[in-house]
Amino acid sequence: MTNSTNKPVTEVLGKAKELFNVKVEDIAERQYKLIAEKDKAIPLLAFLKESGYSHLSILTCVDWIEEKKFELVYILFNWFNGVTFLVSTFIDRDKPVFYTVKDMWPTAEYYERDVHEFFGVEFEGNERCKLPLILELWNDLPPLRKDFDPLKYSKEHFPDREYEKDVIHEAKIIRADLENTRGDING
């Protein structure tokens, strides 16, 4: 491992602020949120990976419908000092296109497919981004968007069952029939 992976957190955060103009928020012990502008996020991720934050825990998305933004969150972890960075960037909700990081983290290919399926975010450079992954034959809004109403979808696609017969009434008839039959036999 190179020496760059053992740099203190403050140094990495200082450089990130200086080079990529990020806003840093303390979340908890050993956990920071780094908010980067859209065009600086990918170089920032590359810089952090080089600095030892090489483990991508997950890439996910948050739908801020009122601000009309999607927030992409990349969670990076450093195996040497146990520090976690939540790298966040905001993209336009009306034109949700971002760039892939699958060259840096191969597994991101699947995370991006996941985010595309559930939020409709496209990742340029990931050719298989639009392939269905978990949802099969989905033909509605991406389901984790805030404007998708699962109850409405469920009512439309799986209508309430209508019972044609009155079961309790039928049971009574059957029982009465049985009693009659028994009466007949006995009689």
Partner: protein
Amino acid sequence: MGEVKLFFGPNHPGMHGNFSVHMYVEGDIVVKARPLPGFLHRGFEKLMERRLWYQNLALIPRICVPEPDINEACYAMAIEKIAKVEVPERAQWIRMIVLELARIANHLWSFGGIGGPLGMYTSMFWSVADRDKVLDIFEELTGARVYHMYIIPGGVRKDLPPKLEEKIMKLMDYLEQRMPEYETFILKNRILHTRLKGIAKIDTETCLQLGITGIGLRATGVPYDIRKIDPYLFYDKVEFEIPTATEGDALARISLKPKEIKQSIRIIRQALEKMPSGPVNTKIGDGNGLRIRVPKGMAYARVESTRGEYGYLVVSNGGETPYRVAVRGASYPQGLYGVEHLLPGTRIDDVPIWLDTMGVCAPEIDR
């Protein structure tokens, strides 16, 4: 011979949960593999956005069926990070005991799991019987055997019932004397040993590149354990070792399990000793009773599960329900990308062993 397409799953004794792999084979060698997840997608992340913070506790253990407690722990710890709440000391120790008991239960369960594809049913009978003893403890502690809903944001639901500590100690003694038997009769058994040695090999570089954590990574010789590197609860106050192996094959991964169980026993004993008395939960956020409000914010909490890093990203907008919860299933990297890129070259009959020993868990991938 031409290429033939074969289906692995969705139901298969070597796969725990419904998960399918489309295998393109030549002879009996897999040349191309495509994972097909989604059979167990239940929409947890969306459901959580529509339920109260506490209501979700009934939901989340179901995300990972064999090891439910890690979900509760991640969820609770992420909320506590957002609300900046200190959990009472006793509650943290109890959480550690619960997590380690769950760890033991799941490692034992996975011995049963490997019995399926190998046809070695002794391991299944033994380990399931021993796991039941752990579940007895859980039943007494929480009222439920599998889904406990015991770890809540702010602490744990209730204090330990009287005399449970002694019972846990007794169980630890029992399991400790069982472990050598597992090693002798199961791991050195020819059915398992010969069958697993040298297959489903993976190296450190691939693991790190793909983000494979847990036993899969440690079996390649890297002592990376989140409990040591990013200690949560009081893992920095107890002594334990991280067992590793260098071979990186299926046998190495299975052989680490009894060693990890021994370390868990060690942690539980220390926790029971060091645990002070005191309250076991504290109030979180604003609001009354079960209808709480968590302050605005975002936090990620991770724990070391038996399959690797398991984490929750929780986002709150200050409301009565979570704004967004994202689940990082421990087997996501190996279950999807890993299956596609590492499975080719494997023999058809080794595929279930690959999936089983890499800990691919369908419910946590599908969520």
